[in-house]
Amino acid sequence: MAKDRKLVFHIFRHNPNDPDSKPRLQDFSLEETPRMTLFTALTRIREELDPSLQFDFVCRSAICGSCAMLVNGRPRLACRTRTAELPERMTLLPLPFFRLVGDLSVDTGSWFREVGLRVESWIHTTQPFDPQAQEERMSNDQAQLIYELDRCIECGCCVAACAAAQMNSSYLGPSGLMRMARFLADPRDQRTNAAVFEVIGTEDGVFGCVGFLACDDYCPKGLPFAAQLAYLRRKMALTGLRPSQNDRRAAVAPFSAQKSH
C-alpha cells in the first residue's frame, strides 16, 4: 500500500422520507490506514465527519449480506473490500433495483422474502413428519451440492449486477433462480419438474435471463450461477417442450394446496 494516501469518497446522500432532501453526491476525505476496508472507512466517516450518514452492516465478515453497495459502479460488499484495491477517489452508491432506505442503505429483505415466497422456498413433501424417527440419510455429494447452492447471503449483488433485472422489476433474479435450483437438487422436495416450470418457466423466470452472467462475476460468495442458470434453462426448456416426459419426481401437492386439506 502506498503510504499516506488521502482517500476521497463521493457518497450518495438522500433521505426519501424527507420531502426537502435532494439526491446528491457528498465528498468526504480520510487518511488511509493499514488494512482499511470500506466498512472501517464508512464507520470513521460516520463517527468523525457526519453522524447522519446511513449505511448497513451487521457481521463485518461477509456473512450477513447487509453492506452491499455500488463501489465505482460495481456491486461489492463494503466489509470485504479493502481500500488498497481502489483508487484514491471513489464513488459509493446504494444498490440499484431495491427500495432506498436512505444514503447507502437499501431494503433487500422485502424483495428476498417475496422471491422466497414466489419460488415456494421450502421442501414440499407428503411424507408425514415423525419427530422421533431418524432423519433419512443422503449421500455426502448430495448434501454438499445442496449446501453449495444454499450459501447465498442475500446481499443483492447479483441482482444489482443483472441488466435483465434493471429492465424488468418482476424478474425473479439470479438469486431467486438459485433458490429454485437449490430445491431441485434436494431429493426431499417432491415437486415435479412441471410444477417447477409453473414457477420459473416464464419470462419473469429463467427465460427472462439473457445470459450476461454478471451475477456469476459479481457474487461475493462465488455461487455457481453460470452452471446453475444453464442447468435450469435446459431442464425447463425440456419440461416446457415435453412436460410429462422427464419427471423423475413423484407428483405431490404443494404446501399451499396441502394446508387447506
Binding site: L70, G73, R74, P96, E114, L117, R118, E120, A161, A163, Q166, M167, N168, T192, N193, A194, A195, F197, E198, V199, G201, T202, E203, F207, C209, V210, G211, F212, L213, A214, D217, Y218, A226, A227, L229, A230, Y231, R233, R234, M236, A237, T239, G240, L241, P243, S244, D247, A251, V252, A253, P254, F255, S256, A257, K259, S260, H261
Partner: protein, 243 residues
C-alpha cells in the same frame, strides 16, 4: 405470484379434469392455483427461448456456408462462376434464400422479445452498461445495435444481389470495386461480431461451453473469419479493378 390458498376443493372445478389428464404437474397446479384450470399451461416461453438460439445458430451456419462459397473466388473467377451457376441451376440458391429469410425474420422477432422496448428500460440498460463496465453485458448492448444495423444492411445486400442474378465474379468484383467496398467492410465486421457474440452467448447460456473455453475459441474463430472475409473482399476488389 404469491402462493395462495386453494380454497375449497369440494366444489367441482370446470375443465379441471381435462387438465389433470395432461400430466401430474398440471394436476397439482390446477389444485394449488385454481386459475390454471382455466388456461393451458404456458409452455410458449420454453419454445421461444429455444427457437431464438436455434434461429441464431442457423443464421451463423448460413454465414459460414456463404463465406465458404465465396472462398471459391480465391481459386479463380471461373471456379466461383461455375459454383454459382451450379447452385442456381439446381435451385439451391433459391432454397438457400428462402431458408435465410425464414430464419432471419424469425430471429428478428424472437430477439425483439429480449430487447428493451420502452424508453425507461433502454435508459436503465445504457446506464447499467456504463456503470458496470462488464464485458458480457456490454457485448449484449452491442448485439442490439449491430442487430438493428444488420436489419438494414442485410436487406440492402439481398436486394442488390438478388435483383442482379445470375451471381458472377465479375459483377461482384465490379460492385466491390466501384461503390460497395465501404458497404461491405463494415458489413463483414458487423455480421461477424454479431455472429461470434451470439454463438458465445448461446454456448454459455445453455451450458454447452464454459466461459473460460468459449472466450479463446471465439477469439480465434473471429480472427479466422475476419481474415477470410478480408481476403475475399481484396480478391473481389482486384477482380473489379481488372475489368
Amino acid at each position: 405470484m404469491m402462493p395462495v390458498d386453494a380454497g375449497s376443493h369440494s366444489q367441482p372445478q370446470p375443465r379441471a379434469a381435462r387438465i389433470s389428464s395432461v400430466d401430474s404437474g398440471a394436476q397439482w397446479s390446477a389444485r394449488a392455483k385454481p386459475w390454471t384450470a382455466l388456461v393451458r399451461p404456458a409452455r410458449a416461453p420454453a419454445f421461444l427461448e429455444m427457437a431464438l438460439s436455434v434461429s441464431g445458430l442457423g443464421l451463423a451456419a448460413f454465414m459460414v456456408m456463404h463465406l465458404g462459397l465465396l472462398f471459391s473466388v480465391l481459386l479463380g473467377t471461373t471456379t466461383m462462376n461455375t459454383l454459382a451457376g451450379f447452385l442456381e441451376r439446381y435451385y439451391l440458391l433459391q432454397v438457400g434464400v428462402a431458408f435465410l429469410l425464414i430464419f432471419f425474420v424469425s430471429h428478428v422477432f424472437l430477439s425483439a422479445r429480449k430487447t428493451p422496448a420502452r424508453f425507461g428500460q433502454q435508459l436503465a440498460l445504457v446506464r447499467h452498461i456504463r456503470s458496470l463496465k462488464h464485458l458480457d453485458t456490454w457485448t449484449w448492448g452491442f448485439q442490439i445495435v449491430s442487430g438493428v444495423a444488420l436489419l438494414a444492411v442485410v436487406a440492402i445486400h439481398l436486394w442488390v444481389v438478388l435483383t442482379d442474378l445470375p451471381i458472377q465474379a465479375d459483377k461482384s468484383g465490379a460492385r466491390v470495386y466501384q461503390l460497395y467496398l465501404w458497404f461491405y467492410v463494415p458489413f463483414l465486421v458487423l455480421a461477424e461480431s454479431h455472429l461470434s457474440i451470439g454463438v458465445y452467448r448461446v454456448a454459455v447460456k445453455w451450458g454447452l461451453l464454459s466461459r473460460r473455453l468459449a472466450h479463446p475459441i471465439l477469439l480465434v474463430w473471429t480472427a479466422l473469419v475476419l481474415s477470410l472475409g478480408a481476403a475475399i473482399l481484396v480478391t473481389l476488389y482486384r477482380v473489379g479493378g481488372r475489368l
